[in-house]
Symmetry: C2
Subunit: 231 residues, 2 copies
Amino acid sequence: MAALFLLVGRLTNIQTMLRNRHTNHTEVPEVVVLRLPIYVRVLNQLIDQGTDVISSHQLGELLQMTPAQIRKDLSYFGRFGKQGRGYNIEFLMEELRQILGIDQAWKACLVGVGRLGRAIINYPGFSPEGFEIVAAFDSDPAQSGTMLGNITVQEMSEVPDTIKERDISIGVVAVPSVEAQGVINILIEHGIKGILNYAPVAPQVPSHIIMRNIDPVLSLQSMTFYMKDLL
Amino acid sequence: MAALFLLVGRLTNIQTMLRNRHTNHTEVPEVVVLRLPIYVRVLNQLIDQGTDVISSHQLGELLQMTPAQIRKDLSYFGRFGKQGRGYNIEFLMEELRQILGIDQAWKACLVGVGRLGRAIINYPGFSPEGFEIVAAFDSDPAQSGTMLGNITVQEMSEVPDTIKERDISIGVVAVPSVEAQGVINILIEHGIKGILNYAPVAPQVPSHIIMRNIDPVLSLQSMTFYMKDLL
DNA sequence: GGTTGTGAATACATTCACAGCA
DNA sequence: TGCTGTGAATGTATTCACAACC
């Protein structure tokens, strides 16, 4: 509810306000938010292929989901389609990017520059999507001063100033499990709003902090449930 | 339904059959399966701390969820607790490991030995949990023969024989997006049952194949939805 | 004709609340 | 007393089905 109220407060033109009027009293389900980036991605691919209009039915085939679900999902945010035709891909994509907040750049810091942290900092997928890692920290002072690409590793004591000065809002955590909760507490204390956690634990965060866990082992462990009887 | 039927077919003693009798006619929700590995992980931590019994209420505090949900989740698989006391941690963990199929070792192959693939093969979190990458492939023949740790990179043409000979059931995909669907098709064609996909696309797979996507960018993009109005 | 957007209907997941037991 | 296991109740998400429109 709060998120939506702020959303409306942020809208810029009357057309958009009218389009979103009906959402004022309905919370957007989180599953819907989780699907929006998937829509953006497939729309991107369609643009590359030169397509310019698509129906919910066609989208559903591409994404293996029902057309009704796609239409319903989009309806939480506005009316983006044209009856009889479908959705203008470029327009829909831009709208979704704005809704998700990925029409702007986001700055992140990395904590933990071990093997995993180095892989993350070298991952080429973040910056094209507007996520830039602009600082790196490690609890081991011996790492301090090391260069990783164009980033200098800093000591944990520099976290507060760096977050403030560089306007960092996302913390990427790649430290050993036992250190994760402590590191996350520090990041939150100094104004980080979102955590991307690679440590294989489930840290506790206050409800106003958004956390996402990347955990391939958990994924595998839920996969084998369905595989174990097939062999 | 099929999965459960097979589950029952696999049970070894009458006690376990009776325990699971009530599940015969109820499909286990997928969300429940996704939570089981999280339970296993926290139980592991509790064992390390020397705890031996825990109540659903205490577990709920640790995992930030309601005791009722934990009890309900477990009830899909059996009766593991004792009234008035709670759950024996070691026993519950072993049961869950068996249910998930992670009481056995699983062999995986990696496709794509670029930066990401190398990071995956070096990730130390898989083998302690019983997931071992025993082969690696790359579509670039120039990579063939390269050693990564103790694994020799092979050509794609060797996929069929290697999967069969080494009894590999999981494919880890770390190739560029455009190649992902093709690679996944090949893996499935040669008997792979589960796919751990790191390519930022949503490949299509037949319903009997289990796929999990690891995609930090999608996670970030759904995170910013909740962050964009807080700044 | 084709397709959207959306209330209503259905299906699914979570939580409640309490009987039953240690 | 304290806790589990579970039907019933509630809350959410998905799907249906159709009026409105191009």
